[in-house]
Every structure is written in C-alpha cells, then in structure tokens.
C-alpha cells in the first residue's frame, strides 16, 4: 500500500508542478505575485468543463483550447491590471490581482453556479493500470505525463529561445531591456499568457478527477506558492522537482501521520528545508 | 607608525576562481593606503573579506582598537566590525532610495545615539562636511550616481569610524569634483582617520596615498610609496599602461 501511496504522490506531484511552473513564471521570473493564479486554474477547469458539456470534447483533446483561453486571460490580466501597477511595490500587484481573483471567482459562480460540476466518462476516467500489486490511475497517469511534457516545453522555451531569455532579462531590469530593443510590454504579456496557458493545460488534465466549484482552486495556489519557493523563485526545473517532492511528502505524510496533517507536513518540510537551503532547494 | 589593521595570507575563492590569493599587508594608523589593480584583481573582494561580507577561505585579519587591544576580526559579522570602527562604502552604490539624503546619513549617525534629534545634529555636521547640505531633502532614488557616491561616503562617516574604506568613490566625478573628494579625504586624515582607498584614478591616488598596494589576479604584486609604484615595471605592465606612465613622467 505504501508504494501505492508514493506512486499517487508522484502523480499528483506532476500536476502540482505544472501549476507551480505557471506561478514561477509570473512570481519567480517577473516578480509579480498573481493572486488570481488559482482563479486562472479555475477558469481553465470551467473551460474544459464547458467544452466537454457542450461539445462532448474530452478534456485531453480540448487541452490546447483551454490552454489558449487562459493564455488570453493572462494577457488580458497583464494589460488591464498588472501593467498599471508595475511601478509600485510588489504588494500592490498582489492587491490588484486579489481584486481580480474576487471578480473571476464570483463571475464563475454567477455563470456556473456554486454547484459542483464533474467531468465524467472521460477517456481515462476511473480506469487503472495494474502493475503487480499496485494500481496506477489512468487519469492520474495522463495528467502526470502531460504535466511533465509541458513543463519540459516551458523549460526549453525559457532557457533556449530568444523570447525566453528576453523574459528573464526584462524581469531583471526593465528599462535596460528596452534599450536592447525588447518590447517589454509584449514580453510581460507573453509571460502572463504563458503562465495562464500552463494552468489552463493543468486544468484540462485535472478535471477528470477534480470536482469543480468556484472555491476549488484556492488550495492549489497556496501549494503552488510553497512549491515555487521550495524550488527556488524563477527556477522552472526547481518547481518541477519541488512539485514532485511536495506530492510525495503529502502522500507519505498523510499516510504515516494521518491525513489531517498532510498539508501541515508540507509546510513543515518547507521550513526545515529552507533552514538548510535558504534560497530553495535549487536556488543558489 | 603602528598598524590598525593587519591582513595576513588572505585567500578567497569563488569555486575555482582565486579572487584573493595569499594577500598580506598592513594598514598603518592614520595613514592612507590605496589599493589598486586591474579590473577583477580582487580589490572589492578584499574589502568584502575585511568587512565581513565574505568569510575568507583562509588567512587572518587583525584589528587594533582605540585602546590598542588586538582583535581577530576574520569573518566576524559586518555590523560587529562596523561597531568596532571600520566602515565602508559600496563600489556599486547602494543608496537608501526611499529615504532623503539627510535620512540616509541619520541612519548612519544612529550608531552612537538613540535620540533622533541628536542623530539629526550629527547628520547635519556630516552634510556640511561633504557638501550635501543643499541636497538634504532629496530622495535617494532621485540622485545622480555621483551624488549617491557622496551620500555613501557621508553615511559611512556618520558612523564616526576610525577606519574608512572607500571603494571607487571618485569614479564618475570630473576633475574638479575629484579635487573636492581628495580634499575631503585629506581632511579626514587630518582628523585622525585611517583610510583604505580603492581607486582607478591615479591622479587622485598618487598625491594623497602614504602607501599603495597593487593586486593582480588576486595576488599582491607590489607595495610601496606612490612614486615607487608608479615606476614599478610590473605595475605599469599590468595596470597603469604605457600612456599613463609616459604622461606622469612628463609632469
């Protein structure tokens, strides 16, 4: 049973990682706390749900669409809210995006009601692969594989492409980046879009096993906070490993210490790890 | 002359890179010691080691306080070293940008008082000495680089140090302004301070230094009075350049 628990932990870990990668782009790389990150995820889930209920599209298939929709939401967020508070302290952006998160959350409630929505009968729904003594839930496996692939894609994009490096440069020094001929507004918008696309995709991967209601994403964003810090701000590889670590610690902690402690143990681990590595597991 | 600071076999590494290698020299009481060397020679690193920002890989830094008591300050925390009387500025300026010039300096002045009014009086003296009085209400972030450098010196002075370490405080100033700072430095010396100065501006360094120490690739390559250093072939080759040498010969 323990190995079963660990496997599940790893699977959830991958999903956490993708949500955290989205956050590490805005918070880690651009240094803007997007408090509406969880609501991005939420709208991604509703997008996937909508596509499923209207067109019977399996979330896995509609993933590009939900990613694209939340990409647009990200770009919109940048131009309408974030851009205007860039010059002020970081906490101002937090306040502004907090306002946005209220709008997004309650708009979801207005449109979809607060009733739980479930995406059922998906390709991988509640099916398992049996490997000897343990099971791997297919919906989890699909999510994990999807998350890993997307994370690696983002990683390559940031480190290897010109736009990716420009994102990092812009985050370090905005006006100098302009002097390099970088359209910083565009770069910020892309980053927010990309961050949105990450959670949009994560949402599509998650809906087969996550009931959707306006409040269901808050915890994900809190966990993403911890994962981003644990992996080192702005470090995408770090977010991936930290996501996995959190997934496994959550599962094992819950198993050994009792499930009411499963999140507390993550926070405790964070505090302990940071005593040894004050800039995150992978930060220097 | 008795030393205030004695640096012995100081070595500092960043990974493979030897930023300081086996450097030893003394800083004499009430003297002006200048530290020169090519870019990347390890001057700032040495500053950082002496002031506790870095813990040296090996070696020892000794300090004699006012009472003449010998103290090992190797790798002590910066604030503790400052309290003993050693203060520095930063090559890459770090003005407190949300504070006014006066407040920047008051922050330094609080080292010796708990009263705001006293700190303000102390700061005023420093403002006057460093010629910043007219700028005292400007926010740090609105200053030019040169002004910031001056604020840094003033802030360091406000802690009433015995030893003042200045890292390129004249960079970016024109000749006239450099003259002012040179005068300020000589003034400070006259008031009994000891100074360790890093500077690339030879016109400023040569006339005021009692002693010059030259670093290259982390190693000390020369030490001596200015005239001697100016004619040291190794220093000319590594640092001063032929043109400067020729020019200084002329004058």
């Amino acid at each position: 049973m323990l190995s079963q628990v660990i496997i599940n932990g790893i699977m959830t870990g991958f999903v956490y990682a993708l949500v955290a990668v989205g956050l590490t782009l805005t918070w880690g790389v651009m240094d803007i706390i997007n408090f509406a990150h969880g609501e991005f995820l939420l709208w991604g889930m509703y997008a996937a749900f909508g596509l499923w209920s209207l067109f019977s599209l399996d979330p896995i298939l509609s993933l590009p669409v939900s990613a694209a929709l939340i990409f647009i939401l990200g770009v919109f967020t940048y131009f309408v809210v974030v851009k205007r508070v860039l010059k002020a302290s970081g906490l101002t952006a937090l306040l502004a995006t907090f306002g946005l998160s209220m709008v997004l959350k309650n708009l979801a409630q207005m449109i979809f009601t607060a009733n739980y929505k479930n995406v059922t009968n998906t390709i991988f729904a509640s099916k398992t692969i049996k490997l000897g003594n343990f099971f791997i839930r297919q919906d989890y496996l699909a999510a994990a594989v999807g998350s890993l692939t997307l994370t690696l894609l983002v990683l390559t994009f940031i480190n290897k492409t010109k736009t990716g490096v420009a994102i990092k440069a812009t985050s370090m020094n905005r006006s100098t980046a302009q002097l390099m001929g970088i359209n910083t507004d565009r770069i910020f918008a892309i980053t927010f879009g990309l961050s949105g696309a990450c959670v949009g995709a994560a949402a599509a991967l998650m809906v087969p096993f996550t009931p959707i209601t306006p409040g269901s994403c808050t915890l994900y964003s809190v966990l993403a906070f911890v994962i981003v810090a644990l992996g080192g701000f702005g470090n995408i590889t770090g977010a991936l490993y930290a996501g996995l670590l959190v997934g496994v610690v959550e599962a094992m902690g819950g198993y050994f210490l009792g499930t009411s402690f499963k999140y507390a143990i993550i926070f405790l681990m964070y505090l302990i790890v940071m005593q040894i590595r004050p800039k995150g597991l992978f930060g220097w | 002359m008795k030393s205030v600071i004695e640096i012995r076999n100081l070595t500092m590494k960043f990974g493979e890179l030897m930023a300081n290698e086996d450097v030893s020299f003394d800083i004499e009481n009430n003297g002006i010691v200048s530290l020169i060397g090519p870019n990347g020679a390890g001057k700032t690193t040495l500053f950082n080691c002496v002031t506790g920002f870095y813990k040296p890989f090996s070696g020892k830094v000794t300090y004699w306080d006012e009472a003449g008591v010998e103290q090992d300050i190797t790798g002590r925390p910066t604030h503790e070293i400052c309290r003993k009387g050693i203060t520095r500025n930063f090559q890459i300026v770090k003005t407190l940008s949300e504070m006014t010039v006066e407040q920047n300096i008051m922050t330094g002045a609080f080292l010796h008082t708990n009263k705001t009014s006293e700190a303000r009086d102390l700061a005023e003296g420093v403002l006057r000495r460093t010629g910043l009085l007219a700028r005292k209400d400007i926010l740090g972030r609105n200053l030019t680089i040169a002004e910031r450098k001056r604020v840094e010196i003033a802030r360091a002075l406000a802690t009433e140090p015995r030893v003042l370490m200045l890292d390129e405080c004249m960079a970016g100033l024109n000749q006239t302004e450099i003259k002012d700072v040179m005068n300020l430095i000589l003034d400070l010396k006259a008031q009994g301070l000891t100074l360790l100065v890093v500077e690339h501006i030879m016109e400023a360094i040569m006339p005021i230094s009692d002693k010059i120490v030259v670093l290259d690739s982390g190693k000390k390559i020369a030490e001596g009075p200015p005239q001697e250093i100016a004619n040291n072939d190794e220093v000319i080759k590594a640092y001063l350049g032929e043109k400067y040498h020729a020019k200084s010969k002329k004058s």
Binding site: N118, T128, S216, K262 | -
Partner: protein, 435 residues
Amino acid sequence: SGGKTTEKTEVEKPAATDATPAEKTDGAEKTDPAEETEKEPAGEVENVKLGAVLPLTGATATTGANLKVAMEVAVDLINNSHDLDWDIAKNEGIAALNGAKIELLFGDCQSDATIASTEAANLLEKDIVGIAGAYASGFSAAVAAQALEYNIPMICGSSSSASLTDGKTYDFASVFNRIAANDEMETKEFYLFLQHLNEKYNAGIKKVAIAYINNAYGIHADEMFAQYAPEYGFEVVAQVAYEPTITAADTEAAQIINANPDVVFQASYIGDLTMFAQAYKAYDYAPKMIMCYCGGFQDASFAEVAKGLGVNYYSGGQASAEVLSDKMPVFKYVNEMYKTKTGLDIDGPALEEFASIILFVQAMEIAGSSEPADIINALRNNSFDAPYLTVGKIEFNENGQNIEMASFITQLIDGVYQVVFPLDEYVTSEPIVNQ
C-alpha cells in the same frame, strides 16, 4: 426571484394593491390576483419581518443558494393562497395576526463566520422577530450568539453538529432551535440500518470505518460513530480525518481501503465525497455499503457521480426524497415549486430550511403574537405538524434539538434516491447490499 435584492424586499412596503406580485409570479401560484386584492386588509396589518443568514457566496455557496430558494418557497406558501390542503398554504398571511405577511430579509455571510455575525446583527437591527440559517454549524453558532444578545428566536434548519444543542458548548440554548437530526441521532439510525441489513439480508457486516472532514461537522460525526459502534456490535477499524480542503482523496481512501472495513461511514461535503468515490472506484474497492452523514450525499450532483461510476452502495440520511412524492402531497407540492426555481429536487437541508420559516409562522399562529418572547415560548412548548417531512412532526427539547427528526435512510440506486429504511410505509425499494 434570484436576481432580486434584499434591499428591495425590504423597501417594498405591503401596499394594498400590489402586495406580493414578485413572489406570486415565480411561485407555482394559482390564485387570482383580483380576488386577492379584495381580501387584502388595506395596509393596516404590518408585515412580520424574519431574517435569514446564508452562505450565498464563498466556499459553501454551493448549498446556500438553494437553501435561499427553499426559504422563498416557504414565504410564498405562507403569504399567498395555494390550492393545497394545508392551512399554511391555503391561508393568505398569518391568520392569527390578521393575515399579516412575512417579509424575509437575507444576509450573505460569504461563508465566513465573522461576516455571519455582522450580517446577523444587521438583520437584528431591522426589527425582525426571528432569524434563520446559516447552514454550516460554525456560521449558525455565530448567528445564534447574536440572536441571544437580542433575545430573538433562531431556528436553524440544517446544521448538524451535536454541539449546537448539547447544552454545554454554547450558551444560546434559550433562543436556539435546530430542526435537523444531529449526528448522534443519525449515527444511531445508521447502525440500526446496518443491523437491519445483517438480520434481514445476511449482510455480514462487522467492521466499520469512517472518513471525516476535520471540522465541527466531521469531528462530531466521528465522535458519534466511534461512541456507538460497540453499543450496536460493530468494530471500528479506521478513523480517517482529512483537511477541509483537499486536492485529492487518494491517500485518505488508501487508508480506508487498507483497513478493509465492511462498511464505510463518510462525513464529507460534495467535493470531497466525489473524490473519495472516484478513488474507491479506481482502486477497485467496493464496500458493502457507504453510509453518508447528511452533507455531500444529498447533493443532487452526487447522484450523477454515483451513476457515472456505476455504483449503488451509497446510502445516507435524508429528510425526504422525491420518490415519496405520491405518498406526501404537501411534499410533492413544495418540491415542484422548488424544482421550477432550481431545476433540482429538494434535498434534506433545503427542506429543513424551508421548515424553519414555516415553523416561525406556526409558532406565531399558536402564540397569536409576533413578539419574539412569545414565539420562543410557543416553539419550546408545542409540537408542530410537518406534513412535508416523513416523520410528520417537529418538537424541540429544552436545548432546542428537534427530537422528532429521525432521519430515514435512502440509498442511491442507479442514480435515484430510494427510501430503504426504516418506516415501512415509506420504503420505496429494497436495499442492495454489495457482496
């Protein structure tokens, strides 16, 4: 009237001519407006104001919105004349008060106890004679604390924590009345049901386990679960608590599965319950029965989930079920009104909140007064008819607990809530025990 605001309800004075058009049009209303106008005692009788605090936004908004509809249905029944053989519905307004009508003011506690408290105070300042709400036990307690200070009666429909009426945890027993069965009653009922399954269907149930949400609701459910298991001859093999918000229930489910109980008890809200259900299914775990404390199980969307998973082993306490409509005309009528507004069949909590408004009126009818003190008196010293509930009666003890509310048990069979226990006259299906 989903889009109608509290303020408006309050502003609209009971002008003689257009007394309640809003309520009338959207209810399942049949009377003739013209006739109504004549009967109206031309604005002399003042409206009686009641307040209700509900979580209309935030984490528990899921249910709050529906509960509000249920209460509005009650108001409709009370204020207008309906073609139904039940005094409350037939009469227009409160007979004992010269046909005074009910005006119900809502406060949104945003799923936050502190806000519940300020919203309650706000309502209490507006001369209400009674207050209802507020779904989650924590919110109800916050509202009750305010009600106590104003000495205004509170009827709490659906909160189930035993502590609310245990007479020692809180100090508001004098004004507080709770309709829902508390978890203690529910637990006993569950064990009786299991014994019944063992006796009648040879189910062979011995080992029981519980998964419960770690809040006031779950903790008491667990307490009762563990306390009564030995008494009824069952062995507790696992007690798994989990955080009120979770992203997945796999670890929790794994611990249950590991203990391999015959029957699992769940004190879960709809989201967690769904995750558990999916996890059980994914790991091929099928207990003989899963007993759900009122909570997520009663949410209509869970019926879909269970149906989607193709499992029939979920049972739980319920105040009424749609399948009973034919046997209970009042219930049927109420359910229809509710359904036109929400698209859903009325569930337990909604029915209980509905009852809270009805009870206030019944109490006023008995007391012949709308004085809060009289209402309190009447509530405590009478037994009330409740033709919309299977038990048919409501009566409060000295701590404000409804002693009649023995909830009965429904089982989700092919996505339909079938009544399986205990009253023979209401049973609609044989229970199915998973072997």
